[in-house]
C-alpha cells in the first residue's frame, strides 16, 4: 500500500514520517518517533492508556490513524514536564499522592487530566471522576489518582491542597 508523507508538531517539535494509511497514531508515536511513554493497553478504545492531546482534545491514539493527525499539534507524556525539566503540577501530584502503583495507566491519566484541568480548573471530585472515566486503572482504585488531580488543581490555582477526610 502506498505510503504517505505526514508532518505534525509533537511536544513543540516538527516531526515527519512516511506511513501507511493503516498506521495508527499510537504506533507512529511509539515506533517511528521512539516515544514509548504513550502506552498501548486494550487496543479497543476502552482503557485510555494511549491518550494524547491533539489540537486541544484528549484522544485515544489507538483509534486514530497517523495520517489523520497530519498537520496537527500533538502533546504526549514526554511533553508534560516543565520547560526546566522539573515535574509539572500533575506529575508532582501523582508522585506526592501515590497516584500510581504499576504506572501503566499513568501517562494516559496525566494526559487526560491536563486537558480536564484546562477546561475546568477547579473540578469537584465527581467532575474529576467523570472526567477520567475513559481511563482504566487496575491498581489504585482511583482514590489516589483523584487526590493527585486535586493536588495539581490546587497547585495550579495557587491554593493550599487539603485532603478531604475519608
Amino acid at each position: 500500500m502506498a505510503k504517505t508523507q505526514i508532518t505534525m508538531k509533537v511536544n513543540g517539535a516538527e516531526v515527519e514520517g512516511l506511513v501507511e494509511p493503516r498506521t495508527l497514531l499510537v504506533h507512529f508515536i511509539r515506533e517511528n518517533l521512539q516515544m514509548t511513554g504513550t502506552h498501548i493497553g486494550c487496543e479497543t478504545t476502552h482503557c485510555g492508556a494511549c491518550t494524547v492531546d491533539i489540537d486541544g482534545m484528549s484522544v485515544k491514539s489507538c483509534t486514530m490513524f497517523a495520517v489523520q493527525a497530519d498537520g496537527s499539534d500533538v502533546t504526549t507524556i514526554e511533553g508534560m514536564a516543565n520547560p526546566d525539566g522539573s515535574l509539572s503540577a500533575l506529575q508532582e501530584g501523582f508522585r506526592m499522592m501515590h497516584g500510581l502503583q504499576c504506572g501503566f495507566c499513568t501517562p494516559g491519566m496525566i494526559m487526560r487530566a491536563q486537558r480536564l484541568l484546562k477546561e475546568n480548573p477547579s473540578p469537584t471530585e465527581a467532575e474529576i471522576r467523570m472526567g477520567i472515566s475513559g481511563n482504566i486503572c487496575r491498581c489504585t482504585g482511583y482514590q489516589n489518582i483523584v487526590k493527585a488531580i486535586q493536588y495539581a488543581a490546587a497547585k495550579i490555582n495557587g491554593v493550599e491542597f487539603r485532603e478531604a477526610a475519608e
Binding site: T45, H46, M57
Partner: protein, 287 residues
Amino acid sequence: MIPGPFSYHRPATVADAVKLLSTLGDEARPLAGGHSLVPMMKLRLATPEHLVDLHGVAGLKGIRRDGGKVVIGAMTTQHELLASDEIAKSIPILQETALLIADPQVRYRGTIGGNIANGDPGNDMPALMMTLGATYRLEGPQGGREVAAADFYQGAYFTAIEPGELVTAISIAVPPAGHGHAYEKLKRKVGDYATAAAAVILTMSGGKVATCTVGLTNLSETPLLADAAAKAVIGTSLDPATLKKAAAAAEAIMVPAADARGPVEYRKHVGGIMVMRALQRAAAKAA
C-alpha cells in the same frame, strides 16, 4: 491490532465525498469520528478497501438555529454538542444523552452523524432522534433528500442510506418551551451500550400529560417509538397504575437480543423500568 490495508481519501467538499463514495462503490466507507469503525477494522470485522475521511469536508460541522429548528452538521462531535449554548437552551435532552455516550475521549471524536448513520442498535442518538421527530439530510449522486429518523432504520446496520449517499445534517424542530425531557439509560459501566434505555419528551397542562413521545434504545434491531406507551399516559397525572400500563405497553414491542447484558426477559423488564423513570423525571422537569 492493526487494520487491514486501505487507501485513504480526504475530500474537501460534500460533492467530492459523494463522488468518491459512489465511484469507489461497496468497498468504500465514510470515516467520521471513527470510534465504531476503527475498532471494527482492527478486529478485521470491517475490511474496507477505501476510507473517505470526512474531517476535511467544509460545511459538515456546526450547530445553527433556523427559525423553529436547530440544524446540526453531521461531523459535529458529542463534545461540541455538550459545549453548545444553543443546544443547552433549546434541546437539552441532546446534552443529557450525549453525556451518557462512551467516555470523554470518545466524545471529542465521536460525531452525531456517525452515531445516527451507523445503524448500530446500541447507539443512543437514533431513538432520541425519532423521539424528537428529527429529519436527516442526505446528499448523493442523484442529489439531496430529507429522510425522517422514523423512516431511516430498517434493521441492525441497515438504514435508508443508498449507495454513494452521505448524511450531511440533522434537523430538529425545537420542542415547545416548558417541555419535560429525560433519557434514562441502564448500562453496566461507563462506556457501555445500553442494557435498555428510554427517551421521553412531554408537555404538561394543568398537572396532566398533554403530549408525549417515548423512544427506546437497544431493545430491538432498530430504535423504537413506543406509541402505545405514550398514548397511555396522555391526560393522566402519571399515577402508579398509569406508569405500569405505559411500561407494559412499551415492553410489548421490545424484542431485545439475549447477550452479555442479560436475557430477553431481564432486558424487557428493565426497559419498562427505564420508561417509567423517564416519564416521571420528564414530568417533574416540565413547566
